[in-house]
């Protein structure tokens, strides 16, 4: 394949001062009045020493329900002093994958932070969804323990949590998208 006429701009770290563009309300995807199955998605990010990552920008994006005037389908949240983030959003449904495959309900997550020259992307799936067993992305991850790093657990009514470990034991599986 011929080289493209232009080459994508190099990524650089978001650094420790990205909060200058932070708007805390962006963590609430229901702020424009979206209706539907509301859920809370929380998690904690830790580094290779097990310490909380306290200056990250966590972004979520979901293709379902579709983006609309009342639902941005995108959110951004800072991690707190304990490395935790929290979003309010709508529970996604299945979306099409390649060919005739259906993808299990999922939310894309990108972690941006000081020390990350490129953002890290992963996905959040929901425990006990029947489609998880045949999801085309989860199926690319061979080990059940590795797959488990993408599967959020319920912590209450309509509340889900997924911890993200950047490095080391139980390191989260990140995706090259």
């Amino acid at each position: 394949m011929a080289a493209p006429p232009l080459i994508a701009t190099a990524s650089q770290t978001i650094g420790p001062y990205w909060h200058l563009i932070e708007q805390p309300e962006m963590a609430d995807l229901l702020r424009f009045g979206a209706s539907g199955p509301a859920i809370t998605v929380t998690g904690r990010i830790t580094d290779g020493a097990g310490q909380p990552v306290t200056d990250a920008a966590v972004e979520i994006w979901q293709a379902s329900p579709p983006v609309s005037d009342s639902f941005p389908a995108y959110g951004r949240c800072r991690t707190d002093a304990d490395g935790r983030f929290s979003f309010r959003t709508l529970k996604p449904g299945p979306v099409p994958g390649l060919g005739n495959a259906q993808q299990a309900p999922h939310i894309a997550i990108t972690i941006l932070a000081r020390g990350l020259l490129r953002g890290l992307t992963t996905r959040l799936y929901f425990r006990d969804e029947p489609l998880n067993d045949t999801d085309p992305v989860l199926s690319l991850i061979e080990s059940p323990a590795d797959r488990a790093t993408l599967i959020a657990a319920p912590t209450g009514v309509d509340a889900w949590t997924l911890d993200i470990r950047l490095q080391g034991e139980n390191e989260t599986v990140f995706l090259d998208i």
Binding site: A3, P4, P5, L6, I7, A8, T9, A10, S11, Q12, T13, I14, G15, P16, Y17, W18, H19, L20, I21, F32, D47, G48, A49, Q51, V53, D55, E59, W61, Q62, A63, V67, P72, Y74, V95, P96, G97, L98, G99, H106, A108, T110, L112, G115, L116, L117, R118, L120, R123, P136, V137, L140, L166, Q167, E171, T172, V173, F174, L175, D176, I177
Partner: protein
């Protein structure tokens, strides 16, 4: 929003920094040790958020946010947002943040002993026009010391965040200035292996962008990943 199910082409080898970059100390405990799993693009990666001016009002002049001018050398930055096929990306948000002229961020985490400027905050936001052009005014950010290594200083730089048309095009980057003697010493700038890719992070002085009697001008273009030629699903 583009919902054609078309994914993005892989990035060109060497043109992006690696997260495992020992010279940049903060990477040490934060870079994953395992190779990321390559996945085919689906609607999740091929489509993306649309941040509109209705929800995010433009802030195109960082140099005058209180009514009084900020301290420092006023500059205009202008350029185009395109994909790798040279197609302009219209109506897309460009988020901007930076240090003040003294090299200090208006951020509680920045403890550098340089003055804050009550007339400068360092946050901006613009949208590209129908042909992908953007422009904003600001002041030239100062260099500042950081704790990465002995006598480490960041070169003058402005931070950017872009979304493009799909989540797979998301870009966070930094723009540098021509002739900065700190560039060959900066591990963040140097983290990109390809020299030409690094040089594309440096704005160029552009007399045509200058506004006579008011501000010098610089040109800086962004290139986001190109789309695959053929749809990847439901053919």
């Amino acid at each position: 929003m583009t919902v054609d199910g078309t994914g993005f082409r892989p990035l060109q080898p060497g043109t992006q920094p690696a997260n495992d970059t020992p010279a940049y100390g903060s990477t040490r405990l934060r870079h994953p040790t395992r190779k990321p799993v390559r996945i085919p693009h689906s609607v999740t990666e091929a489509t993306g958020p649309v941040l509109s001016p209705a929800h995010f009002p433009p802030m195109p002049d960082l140099s005058t946010v209180t009514g009084a001018p900020a301290m420092g050398e006023r500059i205009i930055i202008r350029g185009r947002v395109m994909d790798e096929d040279g197609r302009p990306i219209p109506n897309t948000i460009v988020e901007i943040w930076q240090a003040n002229a003294a090299g200090r961020y208006d951020h509680p985490g920045d403890t550098h002993d340089a003055p804050l400027d009550p007339h400068f905050h360092g946050e901006g936001r613009v949208f590209t026009d129908a042909d992908g052009w953007y422009q904003f005014a600001t002041i030239k950010p100062g260099a500042y010391p950081w704790g990465n290594h002995d006598n480490a200083w960041r070169p003058n730089h402005i931070h950017y965040s872009l979304f493009g048309t799909g989540f797979g095009q998301r870009l966070i980057t930094q723009m540098y200035f021509p002739g900065d003697p700190l560039l060959p010493l900066d591990p963040i700038f140097l983290a990109t292996p390809d020299a030409a890719a690094r040089d594309r992070l440096i704005a160029r002085f552009d007399l045509a962008t200058t506004r006579p009697g008011w501000a010098l001008g610089y040109r800086f273009d962004f290139v986001l990943r190109g789309r695959n030629a053929t749809p990847m699903e439901n053919r």
